[in-house]
């Protein structure tokens, strides 16, 4: 070897050593008996010793740890890399967390000649995750409290209201004839207002029950669900002279009662908001979910979704009001035109959300509306269902 080659090798050696020396992650190299051969600056700094201190010493003599010693031994036997997340090391102190890799180095015959231990600090991530967990728990708790509150409040509000209605009825029955002037009219207005309040509270209860009194997910054949809906709505369909056309629908994993609620609300809405001109025509069908702007929730790929459309030839709505139609207690029409408390679509949306799906609507005013429901065919996530009475 000539001088130039030797010099070149030395330069290269120095360069590599410098890189290893200055790398910010603690790194050490040891022989198959875990005697330290080389530690870098970061390792020595974290451990609180000069680099020379480590050379020749046994890693587990310095830092006894039977669990890790077993891992190290296995790495020597199998020549396989070992990787672990978010652990502490005695040489870095107990308040820092590290991802670490143990990489065996082998010769041409596959025999392990050394081990590289490489640490990456993840204390920040660990703390952020802990904090995130903490906030998530807090948020879940406050959501639950809110749900419980809505449920209890609406439940307890019913009680005095029932009395107002009942005594109002009784007053009308027994003394209605003796009331003078506008007396009976006032009484009737009171009773009507109480009736309306009753409907509002019932709708609120239904809304809060979607999460507080939910049933577990199971296989639901939506064809059966819709058949039941058509029988439930039979009189309303014949009253309006309407027709409901149903295509072949999928079987999905869902809460069976909530599927009934969801599609019954949509079909009932379609029948309700019909035009005076002709009889209502409601159509339900499944459509393939193609490439859309739809962002599926994590863990459920787009092609795992089914898309069901519910279309009518009714009065439609101005799409400017799209946000409003799904909001609780929102109504686009006067009470004299269409009855109701404005909770139907909010209930639909909440059911769809519980199933990790999406509901949207499109409409041309005066020509009809189409509601589009996208639901996962199966439910991979454990449902955060709770039951209260």
């Amino acid at each position: 070897m000539n001088n130039q080659a030797i010099q070149h090798l030395q330069e290269r050696n120095t360069l590599l050593e410098n890189i290893l020396f200055h790398i910010a992650s603690p790194i050490l190299y040891m022989d198959p008996d875990f005697r330290l051969i080389l530690v870098n600056k970061a390792f020595a700094a974290w451990a609180g010793h000069r680099r020379e201190f480590f050379v020749g010493k046994g890693y587990f003599d310095l830092y006894p740890d039977p669990r890790r010693e077993a891992i190290f031994k296995r790495a020597v036997e199998t020549a396989e890399r070992y990787f672990a997340l978010q652990e502490t090391f005695p040489h870095t102190g107990e308040d820092t967390y590290w991802d670490w890799t143990l990489q065996p180095v082998t010769d041409d015959h596959g025999t392990v000649t050394g081990l590289i231990l490489n640490l990456t600090e993840v204390t920040e991530q660990k703390l952020a995750r802990q904090q995130w967990r903490h906030y998530r728990k807090k948020l879940e708790r406050s959501n639950r409290d809110l749900q419980d509150f809505a449920y209890t409040a609406s439940h307890d509000l019913q009680e005095p209201l029932r009395k107002v209605r009942a005594f109002g009825d009784l007053l009308k029955r027994r003394f209605g004839k003796t009331l003078q002037g506008d007396g009976l009219d006032f009484l009737e207005r009171m009773v009507r207002a109480a009736d309306r309040m009753q409907h509002l509270i019932e709708a609120l209860l239904t809304y809060s029950r979607i999460t507080t009194q939910a049933q577990p997910f199971e296989k639901v054949d939506l064809n059966e669900t819709v058949a039941e809906i058509l029988s439930n709505l039979e009189s309303r369909i014949s009253e309006t002279g309407g027709r409901v056309e149903v295509g072949v629908l999928p079987t999905i994993e869902a809460d069976p009662y909530q599927m009934l609620q969801l599609f019954q609300n949509l079909v009932a809405n379609a029948l309700k908001f019909h035009r005076n001109g002709g009889p209502p025509l409601v159509r339900l069908w499944e459509e393939p979910v193609g490439e859309t702007e739809f962002q599926p929730p994590p863990l459920i790929p787009v092609d795992e979704f089914c898309r069901i459309r519910v279309a009518d030839n009714g009065i439609g709505f101005d799409e400017r009001h799209l946000d409003r139609i799904f909001a609780p207690f929102q109504r686009l029409h006067g009470r004299s035109e269409f009855d109701g408390v404005g909770m139907g679509l909010s209930i639909c949306q909440r059911i769809v959300e519980r199933h990790q799906g999406r509901i949207t609507a499109s409409s041309i005013k005066g020509e009809g509306s189409t509601f589009t429901v996208e639901l996962p065919r199966s439910q991979p996530l454990p449902d955060q269902r709770r039951s209260t009475t």
């Binding site: 019913q158 029932r162 009395k163 009942a166 005594f167 009825d169 029955r173």
Partner: protein
């Protein structure tokens, strides 16, 4: 000395006097020939039936024909009272109808398991209350035969109708 009554007695167990008033009015409106007594909670119910406590000197039969039992009450709730009642070899014959605001599936199931004869959610309007009480009294007091029809006595023996 117990006074014999001529009409059957329904005993209502409810902590809400408004509900008692409405139920009594509904029974009257429905034309049912029955008396409606009231006790305020499960403990009072048992005192009434065992003629003890404030009912120790009651001048009336201790066994009503029928019991309308609310579930949610202070001191002793409906289910506790029902459990005790059904454990008594004598009192267990009295049909108990749960009459409550709860429509929770759990309440309905456990009430029947504990031996309730029927379960009626309190109707929301007075009209439906009148209808419910009319049907209830018609069925239980006119059609059905009860162990204690009147005056706290067992029903007279009657030839079986084939």
């Amino acid at each position: 000395m117990k006074i014999h009554k001529t009409s059957p007695v329904i005993l209502m167990v409810d902590d809400d006097p408004d509900d008692y008033y409405l139920t009594k009015a509904a029974l009257e409106e429905s034309g049912a020939q029955t008396e409606l007594d009231l006790v305020a909670d499960g403990q009072e119910l048992l005192d009434y039936l065992f003629c003890r406590g404030k009912f120790v000197d009651a001048e009336r039969p201790s066994h009503p024909s029928l019991i309308l039992l609310d579930l949610n009450m202070p001191v002793k709730n409906g289910k506790e009272a029902l459990t005790e009642l059904k454990a008594d070899p004598d009192l267990r014959q009295i049909p108990v109808i749960i009459y409550t605001n709860s429509t929770a599936a759990e309440d309905i199931m456990s009430s029947y398991q504990l031996g309730a004869s029927s379960y009626i959610p309190k109707p929301a309007s007075f009209q439906s209350l009148v209808e419910a009480m009319g049907t209830l009294s018609k069925y239980w007091l006119d059609i059905a035969v009860l162990p204690f029809m009147e005056s706290g006595q067992p029903p007279p023996e009657q030839p079986a109708v084939s």
